[in-house]
């Protein structure tokens, strides 16, 4: 029987100091990721990028090395005269890919060591930096039930610090309602692009509705399912009162080895349901453990391909 929520504070894991999330070491790893992603990008996406490069954008964005077949009208002859290098002018319109990083900052994201939200922040920062390195338009959205925060789209690597600032300000609180949050996002966002959902997918209303909102809005959807070892193998035994971190609901449980085994089965079924749904909808799913270094996780995702660029 679930008891009504009370106002006693519950046991939640401590949060990392936001300032430490994006330290010098992390930023250096971001540079590494950007380099690797560029290599990967150059090796695989050349043909597609070339076709998109042909366009009539008016806003100068950046230079790119000339390759046979490119429009020679875009060559910058001043640069050639000065440096002897053939470089193409790139205009914003041609290279405009919107990357939307959607973070679930509900209360359940505060669990784990490190907390899943902190891990999601690092992932989001890494992915944002990779995208910004590729001159993609990056915007961040954080949401929980009844609440949404947004970092407007930005382009260029120098914008990464705004990303840091935005992410540092996020706190895990509130309930999860993916459908509501993503519906709102989809309604507000006119430009389509890549939508990367970072969440633990603990939605009492059902995670399927939330992800479907992105599909229906024709976003190229990726799901990063975040988990922590404490959730997979909880070290609990005996008489306990479990309190839901988001809803505050409570239930008295006598945790025995049999109950733990059933819980593991329930969790496995939940994860399998997520996998089946994503597989059936052709949505790339990445299940990430918070103990995996973020850069390794990002590299893994990049190597599997298709996310950026």
């Amino acid at each position: 029987m679930v008891a009504p929520p009370r106002h006693r504070p519950s046991r939640t894991p401590p949060r990392a100091e936001p300032a430490e999330l994006f330290d010098e070491a992390f930023q250096q790893r971001l540079e590494y990721l950007a380099l690797v992603s560029r290599r990967l990008y150059a090796g695989r996406q050349r043909a597609e990028r070339r076709s998109r490069r042909v366009g009539s954008g008016i806003e100068f964005a950046d230079y790119r090395q000339y390759a046979p077949g490119d429009d020679i009208r875009q060559l910058d002859w001043n640069v050639y005269g000065r440096m002897g290098r053939l470089l193409l002018r790139l205009y914003e319109e041609q290279e405009d890919l919107s990357v939307y990083l959607l973070l679930d900052d509900s209360a359940s994201m505060a669990f784990g060591r490190p907390p899943k939200l902190d891990y999601a922040k690092k992932l989001a920062a890494a992915l944002a930096y990779v995208a910004l390195s590729h001159l993609d338009r990056v915007s961040l959205h954080a949401f929980a039930q009844g609440r949404a925060e947004q970092l407007p789209p930005a382009r260029g690597r120098h914008r990464i610090f705004k990303v840091f600032d935005f992410l540092r300000g996020l706190q895990a609180s509130g309930e999860t309602h993916l459908a509501e949050g993503l519906r709102t996002f989809a309604a507000r966002t006119k430009r389509r692009g890549v939508a990367i959902l970072l969440s633990d997918l603990y939605d009492p209303h059902g995670f399927e509705d939330g992800i479907n909102q992105l599909r229906y809005a024709r976003f190229e959807t990726y799901v990063l399912h975040l988990t922590s070892p404490e959730e997979i193998s909880p070290r609990l035994l005996g008489e306990v009162q479990l309190e839901d971190a988001e809803s505050g609901g409570r239930v008295d449980v006598t945790i025995t080895p049999a109950v733990l085994e059933r819980y593991a089965q329930q969790l496995a079924a939940h994860r399998e349901r997520i996998q089946r749904f994503c597989a059936s909808k052709h949505i790339p799913l990445f299940t990430l453990d918070v103990t995996t270094p973020p850069e390794a996780a990002v590299l893994g995702m990049l190597r599997r391909g298709g996310m950026v660029g």
Partner: protein, 626 residues
């Protein structure tokens, strides 16, 4: 069931307090920790909180609490030390008598009979059925209770440690009287008589106890062995030669064959004589040893088998005797010259003789004994005195009624120590004074008409002897009796019994007079222990349980005593006679069962509580209970 520890009210209080504490602890124990989880529906599905499970979980709470209360109840009941109450008529009352008399010291195969008896007694205690009661007592001349009538085996085993061997003979009558007085009115009375039956008959004992409805279960201990011993021993000094002594020894052979023994006489730790003797089977041999030199006070006669074999009963191998203490006596002889007197005084080297003429006598001359030969002091001396050659004049301690013509000693007081070794019957006396005795005077030698010829009395608080005749008017100085009489009178007056000091027997009550004002004495017993004796009526009374020498100190004086075995002590070390049953009663259960039943109930309660606690802990770890 009865509670022998805390009472019912106290137990209720203890249980109430402990129960309250248990309830508090239990409530704290089942208090749930609140833990935050990210997604409760997974746990809700895993817990599967069906109604039936919730009810069962609640029931487990109650069961676990009741189990805890039950454990507390067991421990509380253990504090009450419950004991099963059997109907009074079913309780057996048992008297365990252990023979600790002298024959129980006989040892064969490296173990004494008393040790074997203690072992058998311990077995009897261990086999005591739950609820039955036993009293432990040792017996020799008199029985001595060592415990109360109890079913506490621990107390009985502790009492067993206090059994002490004695040199006393066994007297079964007091033990039988104790048995009757103790058990006559009790249910299922029984006497377990552990003895070697050296001087008792099991059948006679059984018949005696049967008159009171008491069952006798004799337990015989001991094996046959070879034994020789000293059955009699005495020593004395020569009256006229105190530096030499005479000893009498009787050696007994309790075996069925002739034995060769080695006899050793020791005096104050020094060997003064060694001799080999032959002692006939079941017989005695005695010897008189003359002119023993170098003997001061303590004399021992010890025998052992000449072939070096072990003597089964060592307690009778030694005889003890004491010789009177020798000390110099100062004798003041007031005489005009009496060769007979001077010659007699010269015979004892322990006399310090000072001779003065009558005109030179004065009362301040220090002496232990004053001998007045034909002289009467003007007033009685303060020292003991002897009057020889009496003169009927002022100052003479006797009134003179007349003279006697040719008297002779017709009646002699042989019981008087002075006359033990003196023959006066054939002394010829020419004439004597007819003395009138005063109250308190004793005529120890009388003439044919009863006239006193030798008197013992007291004047001015000092003892005195008096002859009613001048020795020169008789042939007494020509007889051996003369110097013996003179030395004897001097020794008697200085309280030195030079000749003989009687030994006492173990178990015999000895009375010693103590000086006025002395309220207690200290006795050093032959076994080396020390005790205190209270004086009653100016005397100390003591009774030795071991043979040997004892020293009694009272005031400023110390008296030595020698104790020997009673003449009735059996000298043969034989196996117990037929008819002494040795097996315990048939209803004795198995030893292990009895041992288990012998543990007190409170121990079982604690064991049960510990077992339940262990089971509860084990099941809690498995989450079978809460």
């Amino acid at each position: 069931m009865e509670l022998t520890g805390l009472g019912l009210g106290q137990l209720a209080l203890v249980f109430g307090g402990a129960g309250l504490a248990t309830l508090t602890l239990y409530l704290l124990r089942i208090r749930r920790r609140r833990i935050s989880v990210p997604y409760l529906p997974l746990w809700t599905a895993a817990a599967g909180q069906r109604e039936a499970n919730r009810l069962f979980a609640g029931l487990k709470h109650w069961l676990s609490f009741l189990l805890a209360l039950f454990i507390v109840a067991l421990l509380t009941l253990a504090l009450g030390d419950p004991r099963p109450t059997r109907p009074a008529a079913e309780v057996r009352h048992r008297l365990l008598l252990i023979d600790a008399s002298v024959t129980m010291q006989a040892a064969t195969a490296g173990r004494s009979r008393l040790q074997e008896a203690l072992q058998r007694a311990a077995a009897e205690i261990d086999a005591l059925p739950a609820g039955d009661q036993m009293l432990l007592a040792q017996m020799d001349q008199v029985p001595t209770a060592l415990s109360a009538m109890t079913d506490d085996r621990t107390a009985l085993r502790d009492a067993l440690q206090h059994v002490q061997a004695s040199d006393l003979p066994l007297d079964p009558a007091p033990a039988l009287a104790l048995s009757g007085n103790l058990l006559r009115s009790r249910s299922r009375p029984e006497v377990v008589w552990i003895s070697d039956f050296a001087s008792t008959d099991g059948a006679a004992l059984r018949a005696a106890l049967a008159r009171d409805g008491i069952i006798l279960r004799p337990v015989a201990v001991g094996q046959a062995g070879r034994n020789v011993g000293v059955s009699a021993f005495a020593a004395r000094r020569y009256p006229l030669d105190k530096s030499h002594s005479q000893a009498f020894v009787e050696v007994h052979n309790g075996n069925d064959q002739l034995e060769h023994v080695e006899l050793t006489l020791t005096a104050d730790g020094r060997t003064v004589l060694y001799e080999r003797l032959e002692v006939p089977a079941k017989g005695q041999t005695h010897r008189v040893f003359d002119s023993l030199a170098g003997v001061d006070r303590r004399v021992q006669a010890r025998v052992r088998l000449a072939d070096g074999s072990a003597d089964a009963l060592g307690a009778d191998d030694t005889g003890f005797a004491l010789l009177p203490e020798r000390r110099r006596a100062r004798v003041l002889a007031v005489t005009d010259g009496n060769l007979y007197l001077q010659a007699a005084l010269l015979l004892d080297e322990y006399l310090e003789v000072h001779t003065v003429a009558p005109e030179n006598y004065h009362p301040e001359l220090a002496c232990d004994v004053a001998v007045f030969d034909g002289f009467v002091p003007s007033e009685p001396p303060r020292s003991p005195s002897i009057y020889l050659s009496p003169q009927a004049r002022d100052g003479f301690p006797f009134a003179v009624k007349g003279t006697l013509e040719a008297p002779h000693f017709a009646r002699i007081e042989r019981r008087d120590p002075l006359l033990r070794f003196v023959a006066l019957e054939d002394v010829n006396i020419a004439r004597a004074l007819h003395l009138e005795l005063l109250s308190g005077d004793q005529a120890i030698g009388r003439g044919q008409d009863g006239e006193p010829l030798l008197v013992r009395g007291e004047r001015a608080g000092a003892p005195m002897f008096a002859l009613a005749f001048d020795v020169r008017d008789s042939d007494l100085p020509l007889r051996v009796a003369w110097p013996v009489l003179v030395i004897g009178m001097i020794d008697a007056l200085v309280q030195t019994d030079v000749a003989y000091q009687e030994t006492s027997l173990v178990g015999e009550r000895v009375t010693l007079q103590v000086p006025e004002g002395v309220v207690e004495g200290v006795v050093d017993w032959p076994d080396g222990t020390r005790g205190t004796l209270a004086a009653h009526g100016g005397a100390l009374q003591l009774q030795a349980r071991r043979a040997g020498f004892a020293a009694v100190s009272a005031g400023s004086s110390t008296r030595l005593l020698a104790f020997n075995l009673h003449p009735s002590t059996p000298r043969s070390v034989t196996a117990p006679r037929a008819g002494a049953a040795t097996e315990p009663t048939a209803d004795r259960p198995g030893a292990l069962t009895e041992r288990l039943r012998g543990y007190p109930p409170w121990l079982w309660l604690i064991a049960a509580a510990a077992a339940l606690l262990s089971l509860e802990w084990f099941s809690y770890q498995r989450r079978w209970t809460l």
